[in-house]
Amino acid sequence: MLRVENLTVNYGAINALKGITINVPEKSIITLIGANGAGKTTTLRAISSVVKSAGGSRIYYEDKDITNLPPHKIVEMGLCQVPEGRLIFANLTVKENLDMGAYLRKDKQNLKNDLDFIFNIFPRLKERIKQPGGTLSGGEQQMLAISRALMSKPKLLLLDEPSLGIAPILVRTIFEKIVEINKSLGTTILLVEQNAHFALSVANFGYVLETGNIILEGPAKELEANPEVRKAYLGEA
């Protein structure tokens, strides 16, 4: 569904990504794990074209070249990013945030069903529907950010560190919901995480990113069992 080939991104003189290649098959959950500064967020931002990728990089989505297309065009094609750090609209209410997610939708008559689906997954949001986004707790904001992206009916969802700064008890819930979305809607998910344990437990396939290079890849179960990964990311001595 998504093929990233030789993706290179430079921030001025800093070489954030040094030509990585990722393959995301349809209906799968693919994870990209790695430490801070490895280039995980940059990868997602380059895919959704919020940052520009350097020459030689190629990103194909459903066999169409989408490299450096304007971001709103990419969203239109059904590829939606949930930005890192729960970038919700703090001054809009929960409902308005969700409406913004459906901004590009042409089939406005189906919105009601999708809202019901979302409130079914995240009942907490329904309770808070009239509250400004900025007054929600961290976990609720993350739920809102994911739901907002779902409102655009994405075929491919890019999730950037959904566990970041969330109470541990909620992290598990969020990951369970991610699997539920993948199963019931058939949404393909590219998940970027620092929390390797959770990410590998839900994903089919994983990539390990370190300072701009992919140093390991394989089925999630194998990565989880890999002694080096266990040592570096899963806190084993």
């Binding site: 990013q81 703090a90 001054n91 809009l92 986004g133 950010a145 620092q194």
Partner: protein, 352 residues
Amino acid sequence: MKNTKILFLISVVLIFGINLLSDYINSYYYQIIIYAGINIILATSLNLINGYAGQFSLGHAGFMAIGAYLSASISTYFAPSLLSIFGDAVIGKAIWFILVLFIGGVGASIVGVIVGVPSLRLKGDYLAITTLGFGEIIRVVIQNLDIIGASQGFRGIYVYDNGVKSLEMIPELSGITYKFYSIPQYTDFFWAFLVVAIIIFSITNLIRSTYGRGFIAVKDDEIAAEAMGINTTKFKVTAFVLGAFFAGVAGGLYSHFVQYINPEDFNFLRSIEIVVMVILGGMGSTIGVVFAAIILTILPELLRDVQQYRMIIYALLIIIMMLVRPQGLFGIKLQKKKKITPEQPPKATLKD
């Protein structure tokens, strides 16, 4: 939506009714009321750019100047032909006035596009400086355009029977009859506050629509807005152009009221004054900005005896406001995003 429409119609009728009483109002107070109206238009239009869309612009007086000069020069240079087309009756004057106000607004918004497209790529301080520079450029250009009076200011033109048009009387043509066309004083309570009603109505409706929420989304978080498929550049430019249009119209109302315009009327201080109204009223609160515009129009008049201290009082007022009510008079407290810091990166890496 329906309520605002009814409210709009009621206010138009009210404005029309009050306008009939304008002869009974002391002309000094009348002038202040008209200025208040013009300031409301300027402040609410800037509020769309600064408050709702979150793009800090410091060049609003520049757009006002374009509208003022453009409408005034059409009303004078083309006065003979406009008179022959529209006549001297009330309806004719009204069409004429709407036409020149509209052209002034469109002129300002065209310049808004030209300035907005490149400069709205900048953020915060950089954008403020660019727009500030733009405002000054407009003023200096006008100051050097002889056709509209340059630094002498502009109050009308002499049209000689042999077709010569001039800003001043020409001694060589002393034998020929001429007519002086001053900028007509078309702006009255009705026109000024009709535009006030239109701008408040349209901005309120715009912000309540899904499209209008896009402005707030862009302000709240540009990356998230982009991720939602919002074309952020388009939204920023739209806010800028709409704001410029109404500033241009306000300029037209101004020139057709005072009948004499000078580049210094539209200097940097003027822009600051409008920004102050927006900040004092509360960024993103139309009602607050309206009140602030009225207060800041009346206040200098009340302080006339101590006018040299006006700016000090101004500054003090702003400082006190920022300390006591940072969200402005009527502004709702803006939701700040909680700062999220990622956990410490794991020390070990695979290369260890």
